[in-house]
C-alpha cells in the first residue's frame, strides 16, 4: 500500500526531470560549446573582462542583504511579541505589496528619487537646500539619487525585505517560551537570553532569509535598469544582454550564469557550515 501511495509522486518526478534537471544540463552544454556546438573553454576564458561586474554585483547584493537583515530581524522580533490578531494583520501587510508587481513598485521609486522628484521637492519645501547652501556656500538644487548605486541597493532592499522578515518571524514565533523562561530562571539577563537562546535558535530563519534576499539581488536586472539607469551594469544585465539583448550570445550567457550559480552555491554552502544549519530551510 505504501509503495502504491508513493506512485502519486511519479508524475512530478518526471516533470522535475524534464523541466528542472534537463534545462540545467542544456545550460551546461551551451556553456562549454561554441555557436557550432564544438566543445570549447573560450566562454570561460573571456570571463576576465567581466570581473568588475561580478565584484559590483556581489558587493551591492551583500550590502542589500545586510541592510535587509538589520531592518528585518528587529522587525520580525518585535512583531512576534505582539498579540495574535496584530501578528496576523502585520503578516498580511508584509505580504500585500508583493501583489503589486515588483516592476511597478520599482517604477514608483523612480518618481520619488528623481532630480525633480518628490523627495527633492520635499527637501526643497522644508528649506534643506537653502540651509546647506548658506552653510557651505554651495549651490545645490537637488540631491542626485536616481541612477546611483545607492538607488539600486534601495530597490533591492525595498523589493526583497519581506523575504527576510517572514522566514525569521516564522522561526521566532514558534520558539518554545519555556526555554526563555528557563534561561531567565538560570540567571540570564534579557541580553543574555537573546544572545544565548533566541539568536542561535533563529539562525535557520536568518539563513533562509539571507538566501532569499541575496540570490535575487545578485542576479537582478530590472532594478538596476530602472533605478541604476543602466549605468552600473550588473550580472543580471550582462546575462540578459546575451539572451534577449543586443550582444546575442547564449553560449557566453550560459557560461556567465553557470559561474554565478556556482559562486552562489559556494557562498550558501559556507554560510550553512558557519551557521551549522542542519535544519531544513524555512520558506515564508
Amino acid at each position: 500500500m505504501k509503495s502504491k501511495r508513493s506512485l502519486l509522486a511519479l508524475p512530478y518526478v518526471v516533470w522535475m526531470a524534464l523541466f528542472v534537471i534537463a534545462p540545467i544540463i542544456v545550460v551546461v552544454i551551451y556553456a562549454f560549446t561554441t555557436a557550432a556546438f564544438d566543445p570549447t573553454m573560450a566562454n570561460f576564458a573571456g570571463m576576465g573582462t567581466y570581473v568588475s561586474i561580478f565584484i559590483r554585483s556581489f558587493q551591492l547584493a551583500i550590502i542589500a542583504t545586510l541592510i535587509c537583515l538589520l531592518i528585518g530581524y528587529p522587525l520580525a522580533y518585535v512583531m512576534a511579541k505582539e498579540g495574535p490578531g496584530f501578528q496576523r494583520v502585520a503578516t498580511v501587510l508584509i505580504m500585500l505589496p508583493m501583489w503589486v508587481n515588483f516592476l511597478l513598485r520599482t517604477y514608483s521609486w523612480m518618481a520619488i528619487l528623481e532630480n525633480n522628484g518628490l523627495l527633492n521637492q520635499l527637501f526643497d519645501a522644508i528649506g534643506l537646500f537653502d540651509l546647506i547652501n548658506s552653510i557651505f556656500g554651495t549651490d545645490i538644487e537637488y540631491f542626485r539619487m536616481i541612477r546611483t548605486q545607492g538607488a539600486v541597493v534601495l530597490g533591492m532592499v525595498y523589493n526583497y525585505l519581506p523575504f527576510m522578515i517572514l522566514p525569521i518571524y516564522s522561526v521566532i514565533v514558534k520558539l518554545d517560551r519555556s526555554l526563555l523562561e528557563a534561561a531567565q530562571d538560570l540567571g540570564a539577563n534579557s541580553a543574555g537570553v537573546f544572545r544565548k537562546v533566541i539568536f542561535p535558535l533563529s539562525l535557520p530563519g536568518i539563513l533562509s532569509g539571507v538566501t532569499m534576499v541575496f540570490v535575487p539581488s545578485v542576479s537582478t536586472f530590472a532594478i538596476s535598469r530602472l533605478l541604476g539607469g543602466g549605468t552600473h551594469m550588473m550580472l543580471g544585465d550582462l546575462i540578459e544582454l546575451q539572451f534577449l539583448g543586443g550582444a546575442y550570445n547564449p553560449h557566453l550567457g550560459s557560461a556567465i550564469a553557470l559561474v554565478m550559480m556556482i559562486i552562489v552555491i559556494i557562498c550558501m554552502w559556507v554560510m550553512n557550515r558557519f551557521g551549522e544549519g542542519e535544519e531544513q530551510a524555512v520558506v515564508l
Binding site: 506512485l7 502519486l8 509522486a9 508587481n101 516592476l103 514608483s108 518618481a111 552562489v264
Partner: protein
C-alpha cells in the same frame, strides 16, 4: 520603561510599513491625476481609468497575467499535493534526494531558471520544427484524403505556463510537507482497517488533515506567479505578454498612468479579498476559543 519600549517598537514597525507602502500609495494617488505626470499633481480625474478600459494591449496583458497565474496555481496545487503525499510515503533517503531536486527552482536565481528553460524550449522546438517541416502524414479515410501537418512551435503562453508550474510546485510541496509530517500515521491505517479504499483514505483522511497546508501553498504559489517578471520575460516569447512585461517595455520610453490605474484596481481587489478572509478567520478563531471554555 516597558511602555516606552513598546512605543519604540510600534514606531519602528510604522516606519518600516511606511517604507513598504509609500510607493504604492503614490501609485494610487497618481492614478487619479489629471495630467500624465507621476510627480506633479494636476487635479483629480478618472481620465486614466477610462483610457485603461479602452486600451487593448494592457487589458490583454492583465488577462494573460491572471490566466497564467490561476492555471499555474491550480495545476501546481493539485500536482504538488499528490507529489508531497507520494514523497512522504517513500523511504527517507529517496525522499531527501527528491526534495533536494525540488528545492532547485526555489534557491536558483530567477534569471537562471528563466534562461535555462528558455534554452531548453528553444532547443526542443528547433528539433521539432525541423521534423514538422519535413514530414507530414497523409491519411486516406473513406475516400477522402486528409493531410496532417505538424504545427510549428514557438515560445508563448504554453511555455510560460510550464515555467510557472515548475516554479510553483516546490512552494506547494514545502507547505504541505510539514502537515504530512505532523499527521498521525495510524489514522490512515485505521481508515483502511475500517474498510476504506486506498483512494477513500486519501480523500477522507489525508486531505482534510493537510488542508491548511494546501491552502497556504496555493496562496504562496499565486503570489509568486503574479509577482513574477523575470521567468515570464524569458519563457513567454514575444506573443504572451504579462502585465509586468508590458510595464518593462514601457519603462524604456515612459510608463502610462493607465498602469497606475490598473495596478490600483488589482490592489484594491486583493485588499478586499484579504480583509474578508481575515475577518472570516478571526471569527473562526473566536468561535474555537469559545468552544474550548
Amino acid at each position: 520603561m516597558r511602555k516606552q519600549r513598546r512605543v519604540g517598537s510600534r514606531l519602528f514597525m510604522a516606519l518600516v510599513f511606511l517604507f513598504l507602502y509609500a510607493p504604492i500609495l503614490l501609485m494610487i494617488i497618481f492614478s487619479f491625476n489629471a495630467g500624465n505626470s507621476n510627480v506633479v499633481w494636476q487635479g483629480f480625474s478618472l481620465h486614466w481609468y477610462e483610457e485603461l478600459f479602452q486600451d487593448r494591449s494592457i487589458m490583454q496583458s492583465v488577462y494573460t497575467t491572471l490566466l497564467v497565474s490561476i492555471l499555474a496555481t491550480v495545476i501546481a496545487t493539485v500536482a504538488g499535493t499528490f507529489a508531497a503525499v507520494g514523497f512522504y510515503s517513500m523511504r527517507r533517503r529517496t525522499r531527501g534526494a527528491l526534495l533536494a531536486v525540488n528545492n532547485i527552482p526555489m534557491t536558483n536565481a530567477d534569471i537562471v531558471t528563466g534562461v535555462s528553460l528558455c534554452l531548453l524550449f528553444v532547443a526542443v522546438f528547433g528539433f521539432w520544427n525541423e521534423f514538422a517541416a519535413n514530414y507530414q502524414v497523409t491519411l486516406n479515410l473513406f475516400g477522402s484524403v486528409y493531410r496532417i501537418t505538424f504545427p510549428e512551435l514557438s515560445l508563448g503562453f504554453g511555455t510560460m505556463l510550464i515555467a510557472h508550474i515548475t516554479f510553483n510546485i516546490p512552494y506547494v510541496i514545502l507547505s504541505v510537507g510539514p502537515k504530512l509530517r505532523q499527521m498521525d500515521r495510524h489514522l490512515v491505517d485505521a481508515a483502511r482497517d475500517l474498510g476504506c479504499t486506498w483512494m477513500g483514505a486519501f480523500f477522507k483522511v489525508i486531505l482534510p488533515e493537510i488542508k491548511p497546508g494546501i491552502i497556504s501553498g496555493a496562496l504562496i504559489a499565486f503570489t509568486m506567479s503574479v509577482d513574477d517578471f523575470v521567468i515570464s520575460y524569458f519563457t513567454g516569447g514575444s506573443s504572451a505578454s504579462t502585465l509586468a512585461r508590458e510595464i518593462y517595455s514601457m519603462a524604456r520610453r515612459r510608463i502610462s498612468p493607465e498602469i497606475n490605474a490598473v495596478s490600483t484596481l488589482l490592489f484594491v481587489v486583493v485588499l478586499a479579498l484579504l480583509v474578508v478572509n481575515n475577518i472570516r478567520e478571526a471569527r473562526i478563531a473566536k468561535a474555537e476559543a469559545r468552544r474550548q471554555y
